[in-house]
């Protein structure tokens, strides 16, 4: 493993801004993995760091192919994470809205350009992504429908779900979108957490990446990776949102990946002054909880749960 600085900006008051990469193997640019881009993506940097540890161990045992290059970048934004700020410290801009970047532009455009120039030629790209709403997801691979998405490859992760999403205008400046446009097979991996650490979720995503590496022939014979399992593929529009009509304190009764029956009470809202129930949230159909809101307070109109109808084929390691 080679540890290297991929991009750097000198700072007057703080230590220099550095993006560090961990490179395994040399030769064909097989896979790049990007962790946190925002300062609160602790689960994403954690998962990436654990992936580096696993790859280092595999490399030490001679189980990674030397002619296949893997680059892991745990954080694109240490400056924000170190001060617990979600976006760029000085101007609050979002690096994941700056791709493909501009090397003569503003600071976060330069960061995006500096990194993208080094990762755009990889055959496969993975980003540990987060959602702007606080909540937990079933582990899944998410891809934008740009016409370049490669669903068959996404199955190699063996995660329970593959979600396809029609890009919205603001998606066109994300890393995932631009990777696809530059002909990288781009996958966003979502897990159960963002600003907390969830060991189980991290482990499942890393196992998924190892399955992917095995399928792609980047792992040598003898490396232990579970065989790929069947994933259910659907578009995000197939998810049914159970929305709150009122605002209050949320008491959830079910978590993600739980099967629920039509009419089942999923959770309820309490009045913040009197503690009484002001709203109950029921499952409108038989299905599986795919997303669950995770903050104590809920606003009106919030998608507190998102359900996926019907049986799921996956019986994973839970």
């Amino acid at each position: 493993m080679e540890k290297e600085i991929l991009f750097q900006i000198p700072s007057l008051y703080r230590d220099d801004f550095r993006i560090r990469g961990y490179r395994f193997g040399q030769g064909k640019k097989a896979l790049c993995v990007v962790g946190s881009m925002r300062g609160n993506e602790y689960q994403q940097i954690y998962t990436c760091s654990q992936l580096v540890a696993r790859l280092k161990e595999l490399e030490g045992r001679g189980l990674l192919k030397e002619d296949q290059e893997i680059l892991v970048i745990p954080s694109l934004n240490p400056s924000s994470m170190n001060i617990e700020k979600r976006f760029w410290p000085t101007d609050n801009s979002d690096i994941n809205r700056m791709f493909p970047g501009y090397s003569l532009g503003e600071t976060t455009q330069r960061i995006a350009a500096g990194v993208f120039g080094q990762i755009k030629d990889f055959e496969n790209g993975i980003q540990f992504a987060s959602f702007y709403m606080p909540g937990k997801f079933s582990p899944h691979v998410r891809m934008m429908k740009t016409g370049y998405e490669n669903v068959e490859k996404a199955r190699e992760f063996g995660l329970p779900y593959i979600v396809l999403r029609v890009p919205k205008p603001y998606d066109t400046t994300t890393l995932n979108y631009n990777w696809q446009i530059w002909e990288t097979n781009a996958f966003s991996l979502y897990g159960a957490a963002t600003d907390t650490i969830d060991e189980e979720s991290a482990r499942r995503l890393i196992d998924g990446i190892l399955r992917f590496l095995a399928s792609e022939g980047i792992l040598k014979e003898g490396a232990q990776a579970d065989p790929p399992r069947e994933s259910r593929v659907f578009t995000d529009r197939e998810l049914l949102a159970v929305r709150s009509r009122k605002s209050g304190i949320l008491k959830s009764l079910v978590g993600v990946e739980v099967k629920v029956a039509q009419g089942q009470l999923l959770g309820y809202l309490l009045d913040t002054g009197e503690g009484r129930r002001i709203e109950e949230l029921y499952a409108p159909l038989d299905g599986t909880v795919f997303f669950a809101h995770s903050k104590p307070l809920v606003y009106a109109n919030t998608a507190v749960f998102k359900l996926l109808a019907g049986e799921e084929p996956f019986r994973g390691e839970r």
Binding site: I9, T90, P169
Partner: protein, 315 residues
Amino acid sequence: MMMTVACLPLPVDETLEIKKNRFCPGNGGNGRRISVVTGIHGDELEGQLVCFQVAKRIRENPERLLGTVDLYPAINPLGIDSVTRGIPGFDLDMNRTFPGAMEGSLTEHLAACVVQDLVGSDLCLDIHASNIYLTEIPQIRINELHREKLMPLAMEANVDLIWVHGANTVLESTLAHSMNSLGVPTLVVEMGVGMRLTPAYADQLTQGIFHLMERLRIWKEEEIPVRTPVVSEDPDEVTYLNAPVSGIFQKKKNHGEHLKKGDEVGIVLNPYTGEVLTSMTAPGDGWLFTIREYPVVDEGSLIARILREPPGCAG
């Protein structure tokens, strides 16, 4: 007449409400309507003074009002009240949420309510104040997709510059793009600087708004003069200066000044050592229409925008 545009309960004993004030003659008016919108970004306050002046002038001259004037000073009321640019609690730029969705999340719902309320306007002005980092001369920015419809209106708005920019996919989620796509002509005004008021600019734009109202037959003729703006349609005419190093920026020129090639626009200095790290100069003759106000800069921070070729009619 105060009216509610959107209303949602917040968790703890508070209602989030977007309000507007509607002015119309006692007889209901002639059906023509102008909407003045501001405060999408909670840290941009220049539009507050414009709304105040428009309301004041109508109150003082009610007999001149022929149509409807809707004033929306706070599209993002929680942001304005908490000195927050985006929507507090979500850290989302509200001007990337349009057209929204009625059945969507709180932010999407608010955006959809605003769009729905603005439909039917003959003209909408969306007033911004750059951000806390940059000062802008009064200008209107037009997406080239809507140039034909908007340019004649923009020419009457009493601004100094009309900047026609290329279509950008990201900007499709702005209020202006949504409204223009729905057939409501919407002009985006940028002027001044975030977190401050510039009374001279408020006067200038207010004058332009009443001139436009006159043209739209919403305001009884008053012969309100307006200036002729410089129009920039070629992206190569605009030069961007970005800080080459991190440090403290001190400006040496003010926005609106005409520059000669080599003029020092500002310096980046190092307070630890007393060194001037870099001097930033004009690459050619031009008009400084944007200048950095906020002193702390990173490498890459935008310092200035300069329009090539000195305009004879600006200022």
